[in-house]
């Protein structure tokens, strides 16, 4: 009797070999990567459009939308949702696909799961954006209950979150499959390890967000009589805060990748960076406490230990990565013949877009780390809480740090995966400096305004002329906004034109 022999399915026809780095690229993974990257760039463009309207409202000399009635509530909610939720998470999903499949020469675990995740995230994102634009969700991206938005807003959040969880599951399963297929031998590459850190933190963040948002949705449709504001706030920041460390981990993955791609700079000790990534998982979650430093609901001990002390601990891994990456750049510079203490600095290819984004992103993120440490100190937060200091800090870490590093990475990954040359190398060369200069001005003027007490999230700060000294920094902020928006346009235009008009190569 003949026994049918099980022939393993041959996946080789699903791959192509890339001519730039010699990577074996799984075609379904390539399409999914591009879909998520395009959605990310579109979300960033939306965030930029909201930023324009919001920014020039906050500049008193312009006062574009001078009151909430003009739609300021929509604009700042839209800016937060697009810039803090949609753009980074879509990009991070693309990055996770890259580090778990394309980089390893592995295949994606499930095409179907990948597309289900993507489509859920797109539908969730569209529900969020449309409820905001219709003026049914003037609640800020934080949506603190009992402020209430249309149920569609919460449904959008929940569907988006569920989609992101599916994408993370696909990432984990792809890695397991790469191991089973035998393409992944030995330890994970450092950037994949960092991606896994981001994925673990993202799982915690999204689960926590669901705990806040599902009951809130049920409240808006009348199933629950109320949702406790403090309960919501706590679980929401389990999402909101932890998500920022998903962004930070992904940003550091981008830093390591940019240093390696543009300057062949690699850290001398593999253990150092991996331990630093692991420390993020340990320190991040309790630090959501720093959102409650001036709340009546927690004891001082919880505030100081969870908010402040763990907050200082969070600085440790970031500073470790900073040394490892700058050190690797120094070594790469010395390999090129640099001498003296700082000779390697001159060897850095400052005109290379990836290296420029790496250096600008690291420098500005360091300032953001400093402003954040101030914000997380219990007593100093009494001064900075909910003032312009906070957006000043956020723009340093999430925009100048994370967003800029993602931009830099996409200058390499998008052409590699789309097989098209970057539309304009010149634009890409100027963009990091333009964007960085704009953000630096924004960080300084917002910080200054915060220290003299200008509140965040208001359309108009005149209060019948109560604080005339508030106007100077808020007007100077406008200069930074103009430069940053130009930098943002340079990026979005360049990527879109690359995908549409970039010269094809094999």
């Amino acid at each position: 009797m003949a026994v049918a022999e099980r022939v393993p399915y041959d996946y080789q026809h699903e791959f192509r070999t890339d001519s730039l780095l010699g990577l074996k690229i799984h075609l379904p993974a390539q399409t999914l990567f591009l879909a998520n990257a395009v959605a990310a760039v579109l979300a960033l463009a939306a965030a930029g459009a909201y930023a324009f309207l919001m920014g020039f409202t906050r500049v008193p000399a312009i006062s574009l939308l001078s009151s909430n009635a003009d739609g300021f509530g929509r604009v700042f909610t839209g800016h937060g949702v697009s810039a803090l939720i949609l753009w980074p998470i879509f990009f991070e999903v693309a990055a996770l696909i890259f580090v778990s499949t394309i980089l390893l020469g592995a295949r994606i675990y499930s095409k179907k799961l990948g597309w289900l995740a993507f489509i859920s995230m797109v539908i969730g994102g569209l529900l969020l954006e449309s409820s905001i634009l219709w003026g049914q969700a003037d609640v800020g991206f934080t949506a603190y209950v009992p402020l209430v938005a249309h149920p569609v807003f919460y449904v959008g959040y929940i569907i988006f979150a569920a989609g992101a969880l599916l994408a993370i599951a696909n990432f984990a399963l792809s890695l397991a499959q790469a191991r089973a297929d035998g393409v992944l031998k030995g330890s994970l590459p450092l950037v994949t390890y960092g991606g896994a850190t981001a994925a673990i933190l993202a799982t915690v963040a999204i689960a926590s967000g669901l705990v806040a948002l599902v009951p809130t949705y049920l409240w808006t449709v009348g199933v629950f009589p109320s949702v406790d504001p403090i309960f919501y706030r706590t679980w929401f920041w389990g999402l909101g805060h932890t998500l920022q460390y998903v962004n930070v981990s992904a940003m550091i993955v981008a830093w390591y990748a940019l240093a390696a791609l543009t300057f062949k700079a690699n850290p001398i000790n593999e253990k150092y960076g991996r331990i630093a990534f692991t420390l993020y998982i340990f320190f991040t979650v309790p630090v959501l406490g720093h959102h409650f430093l001036v709340d009546p609901s927690l004891s001082p001990a919880v505030k100081i230990v969870g908010g402040s002390l763990f907050g200082f601990g969070l600085g440790i891994p970031s500073l470790m990565h900073g040394l490892a990456i700058l050190g690797s750049v120094e070594i790469a510079g010395r390999r090129l013949g640099a001498t003296g203490r700082f000779g390697w600095f001159r060897k850095i290819p400052w005109g290379e877009p990836g290296m420029a984004t790496l250096m600008v992103s690291m420098a500005l993120f360091a300032i953001g780390g400093w402003t954040g440490t101030i914000g997380t100190t219990e007593q100093l937060n009494l001064i900075t809480h909910n003032t312009m200091w906070v957006p000043g800090h956020l723009h340093a870490v999430v925009v100048a740090g994370t967003t800029l590093s993602f931009m830099g990475l996409s200058y390499y990954l998008v052409p590699l995966v789309a097989r098209r040359q970057l539309f304009s190398q010149g634009m890409a060369r100027i963009q990091p400096y333009l964007y960085g200069a704009g953000l630096l001005i924004m960080m300084i003027t917002m910080g200054w305004a915060g220290l003299i007490g200008v509140p965040r999230r208001v359309a108009d700060i005149s209060y019948a002329g109560a604080s005339p000294d508030w106007f100077l920094p808020m007007n100077l902020l406008g200069i930074g906004i103009v430069l940053a928006i130009l930098g943002g346009i340079f990026y979005v235009l360049n990527i879109v034109l690359t995908l549409v008009h970039g010269k094809k190569f094999q």
């Binding site: 390696a260 593999e270 007593q379």
Partner: protein, 173 residues
């Protein structure tokens, strides 16, 4: 070794000299910052208020109303002179802080603050004191005003359509 490829076996090596030195420096920095924060909480003069109690919006509203009725300044509705040695009460609601409080310079007071409807932020402009007013919780702010004048309170937690017009007053005599 590259960040983009699997490391060779045996990568679990002791940290090199510079990495070790840097790690030591940043751990010391974190410990020093922690010690300063803890020390200041015990010995410093300006700290985050610690007193609080639970009160439903209805309960707190009654406290504010009783307090206002008792100490209202004749002829100035909505303005209350807080007697020395007594606690003041203030309610944050969409979109005002009531009542306005008159305090004496150089005297210590505790002002109890809560919110009627949604989260509000309590910020005394020019004084850099920013705390949260949450429904269900009364928060006791201990202050000793040191300069006479009228101080504007603005809401710094987004609270809906009238947020930017939400103000209150403390008058120091």
């Amino acid at each position: 070794m590259s960040s983009l490829a699997s490391p060779e076996q045996g990568w679990w090596k002791p940290f090199p000299r510079h990495e070790k030195a840097w790690l030591t420096i940043i751990i010391i920095a974190a410990v020093v910052l922690s010690a300063i924060t803890l020390g200041w909480a015990v010995m410093g003069k300006q700290n985050v208020p610690v007193a609080s109690y639970k009160a439903t919006p209805e309960q707190f509203e009654k406290q504010v109303a009783d307090f206002t009725a008792k100490y209202q300044i004749p002829g100035s509705p909505g303005e209350v002179r807080v007697p020395e040695g007594q606690d003041g009460f203030m309610m944050a609601s969409m979109w005002s802080f009531t009542p306005a409080l008159h305090l004496k310079s150089g005297k210590p007071y505790t002002i109890w603050l809560s919110a009627k409807d949604v989260l509000h932020g309590f910020s005394i402009t020019g004084q850099n004191l920013n705390i949260t007013a949450a429904p269900g919780h009364a928060y006791g702010i201990r202050i000793t005003p040191d300069k006479p004048g009228t101080y504007l309170i603005v809401c710094n937690e987004y609270c809906g359509l009238g947020h930017q017009g939400m103000t209150g007053k403390i008058i120091v005599e």
